[in-house]
Amino acid sequence: MKKLMNGVDTILRESLTGFCAAHADLVTMGEDGKFVRRAALKQGKPALISGGGSGHEPLHAGFVGHGMLDAACPGEVFTSPTPDQMLAAAEAVETGGGVLYIVKNYEGDVMNFEMAAEMASGDVMTVLTNDDVAVEDSLFTTGRRGVAGTVVVEKIVGAAAEAGADLASLKALGDRVNAATRSMGVALTSCTVPAAGKPTFDIGDDEIEMGVGIHGEPGRKRVPHKPADAIVADMMDAILGDFDASGGPALLFVNGFGGTPAMELYLVYNAARARLEKDGYSVARSLVGDYVTSLEMQGCSITVTRLDDEMAGYWDAPVHTAALRAGM
């Protein structure tokens, strides 16, 4: 394993310290590194708090700031944060409007946020994201995972909160955005968790993992590597085939997993966009880049959100975070 680090026990703390120092105009580190919070809070606005395992940077701390989150709780690499972090974050950024937790649907995250919500004293609501179509949602699985679509939820709900929406409306909007969002990932290589020291899974030079999760956990199936157009076609079949209706304005988000050149991400975007247009969608908004990564994994995910006017309006609203900045 070759990584820029000093030790597995200090990697997270050193990285967070650097992040908070580099973006000191936007964020402050919470007590004991339990969370990263906005430097300036807006009184009375419901507090948006997310969190999850580290290793997905810039998710979630990179989205703390005006127009998105109020705080983010980083867990150990690929491990859910703990309830004490969520409670401490809520205490620090709650200003009278209640707390909305935005949680990716992984059992660990769900259970830890659930325990935090049970221990909390004030108003707490939760939006659970589960946009990953790779997982068959049936009695035999724990349900779909929350992946890159979480960024879309955080952006749109964050803008609505800034515009004055109350806690219950934000919860409803978050659920609606999640329900309009589908994602699918593909991995060309594995990633290496620092504490484990070796790749999470073995994959041959001539193989790809379709439907991979954001922790390098396996997806739908292992298939031979093939041209990008054929890979994108499979991903778009899964995504578009899962919507109840088709056509209309869409947000197309191509997300890199950490080890993929931007050149390839734009190539994927090009193929996915052509497919959307062929199927009667208009690509109304776009996002391309590394936003929800899996350490150094090579590969990407495609996310499609079927937009309505309200969602599109909030997508366009000003945002100023470390990883996303527009309109201000």
């Binding site: 660990g108 035999f140 999470t200």
Partner: protein, 197 residues
């Protein structure tokens, strides 16, 4: 049970988990996300560092405190699940301790884990060890029987297809590997049996 006994017991359990961290991580890399050993180690190290304070309390309260420490330190799914197991056992700890009352309390702790994880037997999880152990305990089994039951039950998760946890994303590919949570539960039961024998 007295303070020193409890201290030795919790210490033995913690040390076994810490010593097997690499093995648990290897099992988790095969069918999960490869962090079970690392996380459990972090949690039980926190329990050990607080051992004197924890074991100064009455047994029920001590178990609750150890469970809370696991919830706050482990993270992932195993933090809430093992935390709930210990807190549940502490909450249900009987005033008069005998095998029957212990089995009842352990059963209540398992019910709390089921509720937390929305899980049942047969889904390739820690419950597949804990439930048969509780049954053996309730049936009056001795320490050897309970230890054997845990070992057999952990091995029995190998051919199972996971329907809970990250291993469930693998579908049929989860078959052929021991569940890491089942293994850690077996290690804990084993350590308790050895400490008591």
């Amino acid at each position: 049970m007295t303070g020193p006994d409890l201290k030795a017991l919790i210490e033995a359990v913690s040390n076994v988990v810490i010593a097997h961290a690499d093995e648990l991580t290897d099992l988790d890399q095969a069918i999960g996300d490869g962090d079970h050993g690392v996380n459990m180690k972090r949690g039980f190290e926190a329990v050990v560092s607080d051992l004197d304070q924890i074991t100064a309390k009455p047994v029920g309260e001590a178990l609750k405190a150890a469970g809370m420490q696991l919830v706050m330190k482990v993270g992932g799914a195993s933090g809430p699940l093992y935390g709930t197991l210990f807190m549940g056992l502490g909450k249900a700890w009987p005033e008069t301790l005998d095998q029957t009352s212990l089995a009842t309390a352990f059963g209540e702790a398992i019910d709390a884990v089921k509720a937390r994880g929305k899980s049942e037997a047969g889904q390739k999880t820690m419950l597949d060890v804990l439930i048969p152990v509780q049954v053996a305990l309730a049936a009056g089994g001795d320490l050897d029987t309970i230890c054997d039951t845990a070992e057999t039950a952990a091995a029995a998760t190998i051919p199972m297809q996971a329907t809970k946890g990250r291993a469930s994303f693998l579908g049929e590919r989860s078959v052929g590997h021991m569940d890491p949570g089942a293994r850690s539960s077996q290690l804990i039961i084993n350590a308790v049996c050895e400490a008591l024998s």
